[in-house]
């Protein structure tokens, strides 16, 4: 049962676009730290031996102001650290900025599993399938407490926070099966909130996406359209209704004037808040009469309705820039 040394992992696999960059900084830090630690230990050990109380070493020294030394050993680390800060910040910003053509995948964290939905409606629990070489953006929220979507092989993680959308952007670089972990403590079975990420070659990914397993029959937007009617959203927001509510066609991604003179971009977050906490940001010229759907519409359903609202903005759906799979088979 004792594993051979070869079986013991000492370093995680690199399988995402940010992993080599993070590792480069990591090794630089390891190098600097080792150098400083070893240097310091050698100096201290020498002093301890040379100036032990039984030694008769010469203890006369020049009366020197320590200021030069102090300035030196403050400035040199300062310069190194500034470099490290800039390097780390650049990689971090790059890693978190979604590519323009990233495929959105929707993730809802719940005690204690990940509920994942692809645009074409393909649904999975816990695991995640992504294509290699194509940028992906996870759009994530939580239905209960804070979770954290962590993929060690990609060196990336981001908190999944109730009440807001966060995102995790990456491109898988190597086909394979990698661990997904929840790294923000979320309750009893926090350590079982795990799964596998399957990085697949694009054609295999497409096949997987199209496979009918009972969940992937309708796209998210189509389900959203149904929900839009089920929850009677269409009663007010639809065409030619008597109730005075703003039309949602073409709203996504555009600037919306609010009561009080501010403007807000109608992004996923804004649409989510408008559905679940209707009165928070009311469009100028409309009365805040929309009821709050908190507790009635789940986070998954909100995501589907948003997908529907988005689809209204990109006729003819789906947009050409997005590699939405059910539009065509390559």
């Amino acid at each position: 049962m004792i594993p051979g040394l070869a079986d013991i992992p000492f370093f995680p696999e690199e399988a995402g676009n940010s992993a080599p960059q993070v590792d480069a900084i990591y090794w630089a830090l390891v190098g600097i730290s080792t150098l400083m630690t070893v240097g310091l230990f050698v100096v201290i050990t020498c002093f301890l031996i040379r100036y032990r109380h039984t030694s008769e070493a010469n203890r006369t020294m020049l009366r020197l102001s320590p200021t030069y030394l102090e300035v030196t050993w403050s400035t040199i680390p300062m310069i190194i650290f500034t470099g490290l800060f800039v390097w780390g910040a650049v990689v971090f910003v790059k890693a978190n900025r979604p590519a323009r053509n990233a495929t959105p995948i929707y993730v809802v964290g719940q005690q204690w599993y990940w509920d994942v939905r692809h645009q074409n409606g393909r649904h999975e629990i816990g695991d995640l399938h992504v294509p290699v070489g194509q940028p992906v953006q996870l759009i994530m929220t939580s239905a209960d407490v804070i979770h954290d979507y962590y993929i060690p092989a990609f060196r990336q993680k981001y908190d999944v926070v109730p009440g807001k959308y966060t995102s995790l952007s990456f491109t898988a670089t190597k086909p394979g099966k990698y661990r997904i972990l929840c790294s923000q403590y979320c309750g009893t079975d926090h350590s079982l909130m795990t799964g596998y990420l399957f990085a697949m070659r694009p054609d295999a990914y497409q096949r997987w996406l199209q496979a009918k397993d009972g969940t992937g029959t309708e796209s998210m937007a189509e389900t959203g359209a149904q929900l839009f009617r089920t929850f009677s959203c269409s009663g007010c927001h639809g065409e030619n209704t008597g109730v005075h509510a703003p039309s949602l066609a073409g709203i996504y991604g555009n600037s919306v004037p609010l009561q009080g003179g501010q403007f807000v971009t109608a992004d996923d977050q804004y649409l989510r808040d408008s559905i679940l906490r209707a009165s928070a940001q009311v469009v100028a010229g409309y009365k805040p009469i929309m009821p709050s759907y908190q507790g009635q519409i789940s986070e998954e359903q909100a995501m589907q309705i948003i997908a529907y609202i988005k689809s209204l903005s990109q006729p003819p759906a789906p947009a050409a820039s997005l590699p939405v799979p059910n539009s065509s088979t390559p």
């Binding site: 010469n58 790294s183 079982l192």
Partner: protein, 553 residues
């Protein structure tokens, strides 16, 4: 009205060690429980704290032992995950609030601060006693919460988990910490005022021992940060009680706001947990090198710099918590900045060894261990301050290893070192030197074996607070648990031989280490109730040791 004072020149050797057994001292100034529980004497209050935090240290240590045993196997055969979650919460809460934060300030600080500055007591002795009672009251709440089933929030109490979803006695636990917060605040208030107003004639600021500087800086943090955690925990308890509150995402409350408030306290609290240790190390390094500290003012000011800078880096706990990326960058940069004063201290301690006359008594071993472990802990902190690397290692065992190097490798080493250093003053007795050196070595080895593998685990991706984990990682957990058992022996040994020496040890001379400083040269071992027969007038600089022999350039 200091006319009654007298000039006494500190002598490096001190008076002869004979002591008449019936000489009055603070320990025999009144017997019985009552004389202890109503004492205003800062030394007795220090001893009361020593006893209480030792209890909490072993409670927290027990929880850690259970966790390490559980992690021997990846399938978690010992306890359920419910229990495991309660164990790490208990470990975190007791170790942070009931051991590390009070350890050096309330035990060693209370005991030696007035003596170091040449005062008969702290400025507000009754408040000092009151803060011990408040501490005990907070402890009772916490123990109640533990015994009646525990709390599974982790010591961080993140919302909305703690307010809505957690099981267990969150309100009682939060109240315990809230109450203890006032104990911290009152102690700190006492230290600040004492340092300002109670210094003996001639004891100006730059003659203060560096331990006093570090206690002063620590007290500033305590006074300015603790109220924020107090009000935040009160809000948590209120929200849990009322079922609605300002952190509730259902009504638009922001969980990030809680994190800002929490870390505004809890990051400076890390410095509460290390700064006093740094002060203790400065005392021990100089004493056992028989040498003045190198760069006194730099070491003194670096304490204040750490106290201030420590307040403006809290956001590095929130890089991936959906804080704005710009705030992330500001906090990352500031976090690198705070490492500079810490580096200054390490370099100055090293330079102090140069041309000293170095003795290897137990406290010195702890001090050297502190420098080594703190250096590793500090440098790994840079990894976490780097945005891109933190993205990977945040909330993993890398973080666990890092802060244990600071908290245990740093603060606990310093605390034990200081306890051995001032033990002759506290107990009037000497401990067994060989045994003490042996256990210092055991602690050093056990500590590294416990926590170094966790750095590797962390970079592999092992998240914290996991009772179950992938089996490939087991070997590192086995190493870690093996180290923890060595460490446990290392902690039990001092408990035994120090207790033994308290009753049966050889009587201590007033200055067994030939140290400089008023507490060694102007008081007996143990000191009399008012510390000094006559208040001293200070005419010497701090650390007036004979080395180095200086020659003008």
């Amino acid at each position: 009205m200091s006319s009654a004072s007298t000039t006494i020149e500190p002598s490096p050797t001190g008076p002869p060690p004979e002591r008449h057994p019936v000489t009055p001292d603070y320990l025999n100034d009144g017997y019985g429980l009552r004389s202890w529980l109503t004492t205003h004497d800062h030394k007795r209050i220090g001893v009361l704290y020593l006893l209480s935090i030792t209890v909490f240290f072993f409670i927290g240590g027990w929880a850690a032992t259970m966790m390490r045993l559980q992690l021997l196997s990846p399938h978690g055969d010992l306890v359920t995950s419910e229990t495991y979650n309660r164990l790490f919460t208990l470990h975190g809460v007791t170790m942070v609030w009931f051991f590390l934060i009070p350890s050096v300030p309330t035990v060693l600080g209370n005991f030696v601060l007035p003596m170091m500055i040449g005062a008969r007591d702290v400025a507000f002795p009754r408040l000092n006693l009151l803060s011990w009672y408040i501490f005990v009251l907070g402890g009772i709440f916490t123990l109640y919460a533990t015994i009646s089933g525990g709390v599974d929030t982790g010591w961080t109490f993140y919302t909305p988990y703690s307010t809505t979803y957690a099981n267990g006695h969150v309100i009682a636990m939060a109240s315990g910490i809230f109450i203890t917060g006032f104990s911290t605040i009152f102690t700190a208030l006492n230290f600040i005022v004492t340092t300002h107003t109670m210094r003996a004639p001639g004891m100006h600021w730059f003659r203060l021992p560096l331990f006093v500087w570090s206690l002063y800086a620590t007290s500033l943090i305590m006074v300015l940060a603790t109220p924020v955690i107090a009000i935040t925990l009160a809000l948590i308890a209120l929200e849990r009680f009322a079922g609605v509150g300002i952190f509730d995402p259902r009504i638009g409350g922001d969980p990030l706001l809680f994190q800002h408030l929490f870390w505004f306290y809890s990051h400076p609290a890390v410095y509460i947990m290390i700064l006093p240790g740094m002060g203790v190390v400065s005392e021990m390094i100089t004493c056992f090198s028989r040498k003045r500290i190198f760069g006194y003012k730099f070491v003194a000011y670096s304490s204040l710099a750490i106290a201030v800078l420590g307040f403006i880096v809290w956001g590095h706990h929130m890089f991936v918590a959906s804080q704005s990326i710009y705030a992330g960058m500001i906090f990352s940069m500031l976090s690198f900045l705070v490492s500079i004063p810490s580096a200054i201290k390490v370099f100055n301690w090293t330079a102090t060894l140069y041309k000293g006359r170095i003795h290897f008594h137990t406290p010195m071993l702890y001090a050297l261990g502190f420098i080594g472990l703190f250096t590793i802990g500090g440098l790994t902190g840079l990894f976490l301050a780097t945005l891109a690397v933190d993205m990977h290692v945040h909330d993993t065992y890398f973080v666990i290893a890092h802060f244990h190097y600071i908290m245990v490798g740093g603060m606990v080493m310093a605390y034990l070192g200081g306890l051995h250093f001032w033990w002759p003053k506290i107990s009037g007795r000497m401990y067994n030197e060989k045994l003490a050196q042996f256990s210092a070595a055991i602690i050093f080895v056990g500590f590294n074996l416990t926590f170094f593998p966790q750095f590797i685990l962390g970079y592999l991706g092992m998240p914290r607070r996991y009772p179950y984990y992938p089996p490939q990682w087991q070997v590192f957990h086995i190493l870690s648990t093996a180290g923890a058992s060595v460490l446990a022996v290392g902690y039990l040994l001092p408990l035994c031989y120090l207790t033994w020496s308290f009753f049966f040890g050889r009587h201590a001379p007033p200055n067994p280490w030939h140290a400089s400083g008023l507490e060694w040269n102007e008081t007996s071992s143990p000191p009399i109730r008012t510390n000094f027969e006559k208040l001293p007038i200070v005419t010497r600089e701090a650390y007036d040791y004979p080395y180095p022999i200086q020659k003008d350039a």
